[in-house]
Symmetry: C2
DNA sequence: TTGTACGCGTTATCAT
DNA sequence: ATGATAACGCGTACAA
């Protein structure tokens, strides 16, 4: 029928609401097992559920955590959300997920909404424009951690060592004997992308090499396809590093268009290790970031900040996952 | 500093809390523009944000909608969530997303939590075990709609006409001249899967044909790969229909393993049209369901149910998306 | 046009 | 060991 309140339970059990509240909050100190059981029975019988709004009003915690991502449709984010959710849930929090489409207005809008909802904290995996600084006014009076996307070092949050990832990719190609290597980066205004390219060129520099070319993509399959189609004709590289997996797909398509076999005639290495890459033929060699773990860690840091007031920062190390899209530099190549 | 309340605004503006509450709720009827502006100025100045917990306690609505999906990592769900979120947000609701991993316990757990959070309604895109009936006790006193996954017809919700989708797939292959067709289904206990196969066989039956074989997969790439590898050797089909896109990827891999070219020697048609399929080479022909629209519709129905008490059901029609993985039956085949 | 006072469901303080 | 009762921040009859 209607929703029962603590008051109903109290009346039906013949006790005061204080007593009911006590058994609810497991303050078992001093309380006859008899009344305890009596109250529990009535709660069971009426299928009573406490009202968190009322509770939150007095305890000042909603047990809600807000998560803002650019868009969950980007295959990079689902795992990250899962991680955050699992960890949050383990601590008794629920996750309110918001997609900002990387729009500053939407971000600000959602932060406002979430604060009104009295979320206990925020996980920001989006970024307002080029700098998160502009969000600062909106982030007053609320705990938050950054996750993955951030321009400058944040006080609290988690990110990947993107530079190390780029280095891993470069090193891997080098070890396979490649010397003529191309690179399709992400947008230069995104720090993650810049770092990946930096690591990549550092690896080549250590071998006294430099990329034959670096094209600026936008993380989309199509941008990479266009660049690869053009460059594959103009130049003769034996390997391409793309700053995410989606763009590696674009290179696959371009190679197919140019009649080049992967990895026999062209090695391809991506970045992220999103689930879809295992569906590619050949399976994609890539730089893996453990997004699930990063999501969990972000939530853990946030909960810690909420409950203990401590802030911390974590940097994850990427790993090289060798699959089928990279091979030793083709022998008999026109070196 | 601290969070301001309606009381602070009232005091600072020299009016009563009632007045503040009035301007807050835009009850502009009868109120001097002067005091109105005064209050607004103070709210602006203090960067006041109403507390939805307190508000919800009296209005009895949290402006929260719960969404339960099996797992957002399954590429089928992100778009669906986006749709639901966009629509919910347009109506002033925020979305609490929960992943049940298709576990009945988790579902029940989340429904309980969400009800405690006083969500105004639930979107259920998961299913408890084989029947949603078992969830009924948990769904007392709460508005909800079903989305996509449901065993029997629900009172309110949206789903795809899966039978029609299967029919479309069968018809398409028939029109390309195929007569020897295999099918890899999803788990038989899932209604969506059964319906797809039913539509598919109905199409063949209309041409006095029947599938050369039907193998029961589990929606995973690997299950389809195993089945296809085996059947591609035993039998000589010229086309395969898989009940989702992921399994089509498995068939791609098997065809590759058996040295068969798609679509030249083998046509493949999938189901769902998840984003990843555009990354495949060749691009996958598939039966598309507009998950974004379905998500929006589900949220719309729910909001309608919450705000107007009306319940409704919507059935979406799938469409055939012809890409590159299906072709006319190979000529000179060993008929 | 504006203000007073009560209630929403719960926790917390202080009695008993 | 248990119970009144005052908050929590807001909306809303009802009064002025």
């Amino acid at each position: 029928m209607t929703k029962w309140t603590i008051k109903d339970i109290a009346k039906k059990a013949g006790v005061s609401i204080t007593t009911v509240s006590r058994v609810l909050n497991r303050k078992e100190e001093g309380m006859s097992e008899e009344t305890r059981q009596k109250v529990l029975r009535v709660m069971e019988e009426l299928d009573y559920q406490p009202n968190r709004l009322a509770r939150g009003l007095v305890t000042k915690q909603s047990k809600l955590i807000g998560l803002i991502v650019p868009t969950i449709s980007n295959p990079f984010f689902p795992e990250l959300c899962r991680g955050a959710e699992d960890e949050a849930n383990a601590h008794g929090y629920s996750l309110v997920i918001c997609n900002s489409d990387a729009s500053a207005e939407k971000e600000e809008h959602y932060i406002t909404i979430l604060k009104e909802q009295q979320v206990d904290g925020l996980i920001l995996s989006s970024r307002s424009g080029l700098s998160s600084t502009s969000l600062l006014p909106f982030l007053k009076n609320v705990h938050y951690v950054h996750l993955d996307r951030m321009e400058e070092e944040a006080v609290s949050g988690v990110r990947l060592d993107n530079e190390a990832g780029g280095y891993l990719a470069g090193k891997h190609l080098l070890e396979l004997g490649h010397t003529k290597i191309g690179c399709i980066s992400g947008p230069n205004e995104i720090r993650n992308s810049r770092d990946r390219v930096a690591g990549f060129t550092r690896a080549l520099a250590e071998a006294n090499l430099e990329p034959v070319w670096i094209q600026e993509g936008d993380f989309s399959l199509d941008s990479a396809y266009q660049h690869a189609m053009a460059k594959l004709e103009e130049t003769d590289v034996t390997a391409i590093f793309t700053c995410n997996d989606m763009m590696a797909c674009g290179v696959y398509r371009a190679a197919h268009g140019r009649g080049m076999a992967i990895p026999k005639e062209l090695s391809v290495i991506g970045f992220d290790d999103v689930p879809l890459v295992s569906a590619l033929i050949p399976k994609l060699t890539t730089i893996r970031q453990d997004t699930y773990a990063m999501g969990r860690k972000a939530a853990a840091l946030l909960v810690q900040q909420i409950e203990e007031g401590t802030t911390d920062f974590a940097i994850f190390e990427p790993t090289l996952v060798v699959r089928e899209s990279t091979a030793y530099v083709p022998t008999g190549g026109n070196d």
